[in-house]
């Protein structure tokens, strides 16, 4: 059973609870909730990103008003590849082209059904090792791993 970490700031608490129910109902995996109380969204973003980067969780999902803040913060963490998405095509490409391990979404920007569709795309698409995007992903992974 896949382990999924999810967290958000207070702006997305209800939306996060709804998406947790959805993920569990679809059987995508076992969800661990990293919380929703901290308005300093970087805290939950970093916690989720570190846990995913360490391999304790296979995927992370983060939410805030637009999804931007949590994605910016998560991407500061070595090994985290966070993608903020609001359309299904982007969520698919986040996995297929970018090998993202964290999906970020906005409670202010998207409706509940869109977030379900984004989660479907993100949790069902798989990066194909050796695909055309491999060298592109390799470059930023290399930069990430070697930065001071």
């Amino acid at each position: 059973m896949r382990k999924i970490a999810i967290g958000c700031d207070p702006n997305a608490q209800a939306e996060k609870e709804a998406i947790i129910k959805y993920i569990e109902a679809k059987g995508y995996g076992e969800v661990t909730d990293f919380g929703s109380d901290d308005p300093i969204y970087a805290n939950v973003a970093i916690s989720v990103a570190e846990a995913v980067a360490a391999g304790e969780y296979e995927r992370g999902i983060l939410m805030c008003g637009t999804g931007l803040g949590v994605s910016i913060a998560a991407n500061k963490v070595k090994g985290a590849i966070a993608a903020v998405c609001s359309d299904v095509y982007s969520a698919q490409r986040a996995r297929l082209s970018n090998d993202a391990n964290i999906l970020c979404m906005g409670a202010f920007t998207t409706g509940g059904k869109v977030r379900e569709l984004l989660v479907d795309a993100f949790l069902t698409c798989e990066f194909v090792p050796g695909c055309g995007s491999q060298p592109k992903v390799d470059r930023y992974v290399e930069y990430d791993m070697n930065r001071k």
Binding site: G106, F108, T110, G111, G112, V114
Partner: protein, 162 residues
């Protein structure tokens, strides 16, 4: 900034668009817009919501309307069946602006399944603030004006023969 040209607004929604409609209505009311919400608490069928809004526009009592359902598709299709009602289904602020500036729409439609409340407010305000052909290059404005006149003419022909 409130558009003083917009005197009265009418809005209605089905069950999937109700919360989005209410979030937008609250924001518009705060700015001082005169908004008539056909169904503040109880959902309607989207067909009825669309007809209520379209009817309001056709009566001349309301300058602009908003209609909501799950994707916004159903209400926009039905609104556009009404002569003199030009409804745009939007998902972006850019589209919302152009829907008034270029297309001279008088109804804006959105989907509760798709659009977050803040995004809905942004699109609603962007649309309300625009007027047909305003802030446009004058040559572009002439073309756009002619295009809308052609639309109205086409509408007349189509509705006659059906």
């Amino acid at each position: 900034m409130k558009n003083e040209n917009v005197k009265k607004i009418i809005m209605a929604a089905d069950r999937y668009g109700l919360a989005l409609k209410n979030a937008i209505r609250e924001d518009l009311e705060k700015q001082g817009y005169d908004v008539y919400d056909v169904n503040p608490d109880e959902p309607m069928l989207y067909q009825d919501a669309a007809c209520a809004v379209a009817g309001g526009i056709r009566s001349g009592e309301y300058d602009r309307g908003f209609a909501f359902c799950g994707t916004g598709m159903g209400v926009s299709i039905i609104c556009n069946k009404h002569k003199g009602v030009y409804a745009a289904l939007v998902e972006s602020v850019y589209q919302a602006r152009r829907a008034r500036q270029v297309n001279n729409t008088n109804v804006l439609c959105m989907g509760g399944f798709l659009i977050g409340h803040e995004m809905g407010r942004e699109m609603a305000n962007a649309w309300l603030q625009m007027e047909h052909m305003v802030d446009m290059d004058p040559d572009m404005a002439k073309i756009v004006g002619k295009e809308f006149d052609a639309l109205v003419e086409t509408e007349g022909k189509v509705l006659e023969t059906n």
